[in-house]
């Protein structure tokens, strides 16, 4: 079996080869879902949005220009799709008012006394206020710059800064048991 190279897939896609999309789908569908799931926790929505990502990719196959890797490209598309969905639901605008409450939801700490560290980190991130969480995730995991995050979420760079600071403050509080392990 020939190795499936990125160029190969792209060339085949450009000549309308559906099997090429199938190859791509097989390789990256779960990854695209995972990327969306990080931002949106509803599995039905996640899978619908993943479909849109691949459909969009197929529709713009002739003009597509991938400078990095296909995986990174699809991932970026997935994140954009998820954010587009959030924007449509106006979730960020609505949140602004009750966003000033500092700190995470109370009583989280006792819930995870016996879990594993990774679970704790995940939970600590999950309990961040939604906008704060999305900002943090886009910075930490998608490695978007503050400017890119601001553009994606339609908020000011100043707000991104505040949300990042807030996220770290909360995470530090939630995870303080694990800090200071060495040095």
């Amino acid at each position: 079996m020939q190795e499936i190279s990125q160029e190969n897939i792209l060339t085949r896609l450009k000549s309308n080869d559906k099997a090429a999309l199938k190859d791509l789908f097989q390789l990256h569908h779960a990854g695209v879902c995972a990327a969306i799931f990080r931002i949106i926790k509803d599995r039905n929505t996640v899978e619908d949005l993943a479909q849109e990502v691949f459909l969009r990719f197929w529709q713009k196959r002739e003009t597509i220009n991938v400078s990095s890797s296909l995986q990174a490209y699809l991932r970026r598309m997935a994140v954009n799709e998820a954010l587009g969905h959030l924007r449509k639901k106006k979730m960020f605008e609505e949140e602004i008012n009750n966003d000033t409450l500092a700190g995470a939801a109370p009583g989280v700490e006792h819930q995870y006394l016996h879990g594993e560290l990774e679970e704790h980190i995940k939970m600590a991130i999950d309990v961040l206020p939604p906008r704060c969480r999305t900002v943090f995730q886009l910075s930490r995991f998608e490695e978007l710059s503050y400017r890119e995050i601001a553009e994606q979420l339609n908020i000011s760079i100043k707000t991104v800064e505040n949300q990042m600071g807030k996220a770290l403050k909360i995470l530090r509080k939630e995870l303080h048991h694990y800090l200071h392990f060495f040095l």
Binding site: M1, E3, I4, S5, K18, A19, L21, K22, D23, F25, Q26, L27, H29, A30, G31, C33, A34, A35, F37, R38, V46, E47, A50, Q51, F54, L55, W58, S68, S69, Q71, A72, G115, E116, L117, E118, I121, K122, I125, S139, R140, F141, E143, S145, Y146, E161, N162, M164, G165, A167, L168, K169, L171, R172, L175, Y178, L179, H180, F181, F182, L183
Partner: protein, 345 residues
Amino acid sequence: MDNPKYLDLMSKYLSGNIDRTEREELMSWVESSSANQAFFEEMIQLWGMTGDLEEEEYEVDTLEAWAKLEPRLDPPAASPSISPGKIIPFYYRKSSWSIAASLALLVVFAWLLYPAIKGPQMMLVTTLGQEQKEVLLPDGSKVWLNGNSSLEYDPVFEERMVKLEGEAYFDVASISDRTFSISSGNVTTKVLGTVFNVRAYPEEASVEVTVEEGLVEVSLVPEKPENRSSLAPQSVRLQPGKSAMVDKTAQKVAVSEEDITIVTAWQKKKLIFDDEPMPNVAKTLERYFGISIEIDPVKYKDCPVTFEKDNPELEDVFALLEALFDYRIDKGDEKIYSIAGGVCD
């Protein structure tokens, strides 16, 4: 410590959104008190911890999802590519047999694709005992591989990631926002663009990362899953001249100052000693020539050595030391030497 201004600067620093002025401001704040320093280190650790969090795997029936997507790929009826009058709906109304057939095809596809999913063809560069190799990676980074070592990477290099066993000196090309990572067992070294040395021979008790230029993050993920609940992944950020020693048995990370010229002597093919106590010289020679030297560390601690030699040969160096201090250097079993006698003031 809870000053939001520095929290914001800290966030910018960690996420790579800081500019030079802000960085200087943050650093002088950090250096102004030990509490600030502690806060800084804690935040770095926190950042490292969240970064080690792997994306949750998403279980999904890809075959089913594809079956849903496939009919949507064809343009709608109005598309110019389909001549008017053509009856399209039948196209969508696949018989259950043909759906089954296409599913079967997909299964065959999945099987054919398996090697591709499993992982691409990896490049492997290895060196023998006294051999060294210079490797140019696809991203422009350079690696000097010391003896008895191996370097493995995916030639596509989508992720800037290599696996190292043994010792290597890295000159990593700086590409903004794209970290370069080196894994050696459960120790991971992450950088943006810098120069540093990693020593990770499987038979040695520790993994050592020493930085010559730039910032390097070293993290250790606890080896045994059952330890995970009690052990946080430990990570440290290293500045030039600092070295992280990861003790493989204790699963602990310690940071120390190291003389980068000694650590990287093998790569520069140069021995430099400037008023260096003899026991340290012996250590460097051990490392450089891959030998062991038995020496009384107390007796010889006040014997400073000064010399510089390019492309040194073991015999020449020993001859020089013998001439300088009247040592007796005996060769015992293979590659084990002992130093005795001699004078120094």
